[in-house]
Symmetry: C2
Subunit: 268 residues, 2 copies
């Protein structure tokens, strides 16, 4: 049995307001936060958890988030750094379908995607205030049509890899790879835990918790569907970390991200 | 039958961030918004809908909202301007129990308060992120105790007038005075409509919609329990205004408030 390895693929940064990161608390003003994907080398295949944002898409739909992304920070570029190409990926897991978590799905030409059943429903029929997150109108062309929005002739963020599977409930999708339901940020949000031979399990919150400070303050991000559920999910992540002696890795933490291993370095 | 009259009692202003007024949209930066109460002279008695904030309480618990309130902008001061004293008020209706809507309840020594059953429950057991709004720990002393918060020896915001009544559902509480359920901002939020002999009905949104711009953008305020319900409540207010040919009056609209009649002037 080959040893499981985890690589973090740096995906560049975005600009938001401090009140969007720390809901109602701030302080306000521009903050630039990191985005990354998680590559898992596993005996059953290669998994990628989230795929970052697509630069061109952000420039077209949300240019005010001023994306900074080098070629090495795209999915093909980041995979090349670890000696892989997009077609080497067997499975995509999307924590949710906000644009900064699925922008690289389109490159993964051989993969089967796994997401929560409720998330696929939600991204096709978002609440009006979720429009900024579910930014690709191709996810819900009927809605776009109702609103008089012209769709690009080619879908820009094609989340649909060749195979697609929706699941619900907590799931051990492969030996030592766990999905935990953490709704609130979106309707069908998953966090992910990976068990490794040589260290504590890694528990990736995804957007159920943006940062260590968010957790310390129990402060939900400004982007959410249901803040009551969000708080419960943060409590759940704390409890899961304690139960499994897992280390929490946050999704958009400009303070802790510089300490994470990226590039060709890996956790095992 | 005496003619119903509506007075708007200017209650001063508070300072918040633009992202708190227009959730996730902003623009950010300090905005100063008005607070006011609605006095209804009715053949069945004198009603007051919401009672503004208590300056001393804000200075103790949320001084960063920099309250500006003259003596004429307190409940006793504003009532004096129309020739009344607090003991002349028969009924208080609280849209909800955020501090800037019940700060003057304590003056109303003869009144019976009416609020939504769910709101009274909620303010005694708020979500962690509702703490800024439900700012008086005396509403939920057990929670305060759990958190190690010391209660002031004298409750500062005593919401409990001598009589207290909770209701639910839409209600015509007196001829031509309607309460409409508009949850989302809080669990048990009510908006109020008053029918008048000489003009269109007045539909007071309270915090179900802060401003005309909020309605135009369908943009919920940053302070909310359930944004999906908030959107439905805004849609409901629009539909009610259309159905009853009512004019919408918003709760914290620094752009439209200067056009509202205040002081001794009234609507009838």
């Amino acid at each position: 049995m080959s040893e499981t390895k985890v690589y973090l693929l740096d995906g560049g940064t975005l600009l938001v307001d401090g009140f969007q990161v720390f809901w109602n608390r701030g302080p306000g003003g521009e903050v630039r936060f990191p985005c990354y994907s998680v590559l898992i080398e596993h005996k059953d295949g290669r998994y990628i958890f989230d795929t970052g944002y697509d630069h061109d898409h952000v420039m077209r739909v949300l240019p005010f988030e001023k994306p900074l992304q080098t070629p090495e920070q795209t999915i093909p570029g980041a995979l090349a750094k670890v000696g892989l190409k997009p077609s080497d990926i067997d499975y995509v897991i999307n924590s949710h379908y906000h644009f900064d978590h699925c922008g690289g799905n389109k490159y993964l030409s051989e993969a089967c995607t796994v997401c929560h059943t409720k998330e696929l429903e939600a991204c096709g029929c978002p609440q009006p205030f979720e429009r900024l997150g579910y930014s690709d109108y191709n996810f819900s062309p009927d809605h776009a049509k109702e609103r008089g929005i012209e769709l690009p002739s080619e879908p820009e963020l094609d989340i649909y890899t060749p195979k697609f599977e929706t699941v619900s409930g907590d799931q051990e999708i492969a030996k030592g790879i766990w999905l935990f339901e953490t709704p609130g940020h979106t309707a069908g949000h998953y966090s992910l835990m990976v068990e490794l031979a040589g260290r504590r399990p890694m528990l990736f919150t995804a957007d159920a918790c943006y940062s260590q400070k968010s957790m310390d303050l129990m402060c939900v991000s400004g982007f959410h569907l249901d803040p009551t559920a969000s708080i419960q999910s943060m409590e759940r992540l704390k409890a899961l970390a304690e139960k499994h002696d897992a280390e929490l890795f946050y999704s958009h933490d400009w303070e802790t991200f510089p300490n994470y291993k990226t590039g060709a370095a890996y956790y095992s």
